[in-house]
């Protein structure tokens, strides 16, 4: 789960990572009030779940409360387009108003899960404020990594090493060691999947602090953190994806015209790939779960049909423990309950009781294209969708 910068900074404060004074505002007036309280120059930052906000016009410097109000008025309500939002952009509902910091140096500090070693890795770079993937690709020598032994946790010498590698000294070194140590505590304490400070800055007065904050939290660890549910911002999520989640389905909207419903994530991806090989584009990823209950199938079908781009539906179910005749029954009921379905539906059932499932579809009186064979079904669906 992604959370907003202002929420991540509240976590930073709680764990003792220094951040600028500030507050979050939903209206220009609130932004003005926060700027008055801070005094002096402030930064007004759009709060959306995407990076690259500055380039898109979502971050503005203001010389006082009046300018902060004007900046907030321009930003709140705008559709902010960045390289991470897609062409439609994301609507801004809140801004973070913060004390502007005098920057001497910009650095990068992050903690992520390293899949290859199955350990947490601290990543630091003297090239802060930039796209870290670009830095890694172009100047890998400017990136330093240190892995945390799960049995030991982060050792103090590792935090010191990171800060020496970043070239910190004096107060900035002390602040840096605290920030690395506390970022690790936060990661473990909150079950994060990513914790990133970009940039971590050295101020002209010598101290260091986080002026951006990005934290992703682990949905699977929700049982340890009931309070995390309140951090979720549903306006940031695709409504159909949110609805699917409620029914235990995995749905991701894509751009094509063949809607697909498949049981199992791997088979669902493979089905999308095959549709593409057959000359069409998948409209979505939809995994109804390995089990594929009749109720799951019905909800999945409704979500699929809510996408206006869908010109054909392909249902690909590999029956295992769940029997294909039960799935077929679910499909028939879903179509009947939905009333008018004006796109062709191709169904391929394989595995346990597949033949019986096919008989149910054919005997339903509804206009299914019951196809035998994985490739044949995908080809039929692609043809019926008329290519893209």
């Amino acid at each position: 789960m992604k959370i907003h910068e202002y929420q991540a900074k509240e976590l930073f404060r709680r764990y003792g990572i220094p951040v600028p004074a500030g507050g979050v505002a939903s209206t220009p007036e609130e932004a003005r009030a926060i700027a008055e309280r801070i005094g002096g120059k402030v930064v007004v930052k759009a709060q959306i779940h995407a990076g690259g906000r500055g380039k898109g016009g979502g971050v503005k410097l203001a010389n006082g409360p009046g300018e902060a109000e004007t900046a907030a008025r321009a930003i709140i309500g705008m559709s902010l387009v960045t390289h991470q939002t897609g062409p439609g952009g994301k609507r801004v509902h809140k801004v973070l108003v913060e004390e502007a910091s005098p920057i001497a140096r910009e650095l990068y500090i992050a903690i992520v899960l390293d899949r290859e070693t199955s350990r947490l890795v601290i990543i630091a770079s003297s090239a802060g404020g930039m796209d870290i993937e670009k830095v890694a690709a172009e100047t890998p020598d400017r990136i330093f990594k240190t892995w945390v032994d799960p049995a030991l946790g982060l050792m103090p010498f590792q935090a010191r090493r990171v800060c020496f590698k970043l070239g910190l000294s004096g107060q900035a070194f002390k602040d840096g060691v605290d920030a690395v140590t506390n970022l690790y505590r936060l990661f473990e304490g909150e079950d994060a999947t990513l914790a990133e400070i970009n940039p971590f800055i050295v101020r002209t007065d010598g101290g260091a602090m986080a002026i951006d904050a990005k934290v992703n939290l682990d949905d699977d660890a929700g049982f340890r953190h009931p309070e995390h549910a309140a951090l979720r911002d549903l306006t940031e999520e695709e409504p159909l994806e949110t609805e699917a989640k409620r029914y235990g389905l995995n749905y991701i909207k894509l751009g094509g015209s063949v809607g697909c419903m498949v049981n199992g994530a791997g088979l669902a991806m493979a089905t999308m790939d095959l549709i593409k090989l057959c000359g069409a584009e998948p409209a979505n990823f939809l995994d109804v779960g390995g089990g594929a209950s009749a109720e799951g199938v019905e909800n999945a079908f409704r979500i699929l049909m809510a996408d206006q781009n869908v010109r054909c539906v392909l249902i690909n179910i590999f029956g295992g423990i769940v029997r294909c005749d039960r799935v077929a029954q679910g499909v028939v009921e879903a179509v009947m309950n939905l009333g008018e379905v004006d796109v062709p539906i191709v169904v391929r059932l394989e595995g346990t009781n597949a033949a019986e499932g096919m008989r149910i579809l054919k005997g339903s009186g509804l206009d299914f294209h019951a196809v035998v064979g994985f490739h044949e079904a995908a080809q039929k669906a692609a043809d019926l969708a008329g290519g893209d």
């Binding site: 899949r115 790939d273 390995g290 295992g320």
Partner: protein, 289 residues
């Protein structure tokens, strides 16, 4: 002798709730040697005709078990695995889905300091056709033979097994290694086992987007594998930055794409299928030359 799951495997079940019992019944029906269950506080009781024990250690001592299959809910899964490792079982199959990565980091670390082999989590398990299954897969689609199957997915594994069986190619062992970012047995580890198995003649490797396990597998194949490998990578059409159902199936920072994985495997001499519908026929063609 197949891989990991053989005639010598005697397994206990950790987590005999509704789902655990359902699948235990089917494992027994298939002829798998399930010898007991761990149900803390219910030692001495019977379930499905199997004796219950308070701890894994008791179950091991009471039955001679050398393996365990785990169905416990995600929040208890790390504890269950580490208990099995502590009892020095040879094989642990972890079916449970949705275990927090921070828990899995500790599990993986404990596994590294042991001789226990773990398969999973978030996996369908392992089947040696004709011998037994520690998993949740349907059995009719499998047939004993000489093709080893390794896959990060569940139903896609069934699809592949059905294609192989339809093409007249039986399987030595099929292993669903799981769709999470941290798993006990990776593609490379499984390849090593199949490469050393005299009953395996050819290997089908089913990967997907996310991480670099397939690239590491490719490097192993290039240097060490002397059996033909046929591969499919799911997710060529997956968008970047989105988790495709499996926790591990995500293209992050432009890394972990299907194109990269296919290229690495092809460079290692692997026959890569672009179509998931052609895995059975391609394996047959590769085998018969």
């Amino acid at each position: 002798m197949a891989v990991l799951l053989t005639e010598d495997t005697r397994a206990i079940v950790q987590g005999l709730g509704k789902e655990g019992q359902f699948h235990t019944e089917r494992m027994l029906q298939y002829g798998t040697r399930i010898v007991g269950g761990v149900r803390p506080g219910k030692a001495g009781e019977e379930v499905l005709g199997l004796p219950s024990f308070d701890t894994v250690e008791d179950a091991r001592d009471g039955t001679g078990a050398n393996a365990s299959i785990i169905f416990v809910p995600s929040r208890f899964a790390a504890d269950a695995v580490i208990e099995a490792v502590d009892a020095e079982l040879d094989l642990v199959v972890l079916i449970t889905e949705g275990i927090p990565p921070l828990d899995m980091i500790r599990v993986k670390d404990r596994l590294k300091r042991s001789s226990t082999r773990m398969i999973g989590p978030n996996c369908p398990g392992i089947i040696t056709p004709g011998v037994g299954k520690l998993g949740i897969m349907p059995t009719e689609i499998f047939e004993a033979g000489r093709c080893g199957v390794i896959s990060r997915s569940g139903t896609l594994t069934y699809e592949v097994a059905a294609q192989l069986t339809a093409a007249g190619i039986g399987q030595s062992t099929c292993m669903g290694i799981g769709g999470d970012p941290i798993i006990g047995t990776k593609h490379r580890d499984a390849l090593e086992l199949f490469n050393a198995d005299p009953d395996t003649e050819i290997i089908a490797l089913i990967g997907e987007i996310g991480g670099n396990d397939e690239e590491l597998a490719a490097a192993y194949i290039a240097d060490h594998c002397d059996k033909p490998v046929v591969a499919f990578i799911a997710g060529s059409t997956a968008p970047p930055g989105k988790r495709m159902g499996h926790a591990g199936a995500i293209i992050a920072g432009g890394k972990g794409t299907a194109a990269e994985k296919k290229a690495a495997l092809r460079a290692a001499g692997v026959t890569v299928c672009d179509s998931p519908a052609a895995i059975g026929t391609t394996t047959k063609r590769t085998l018969t030359g």
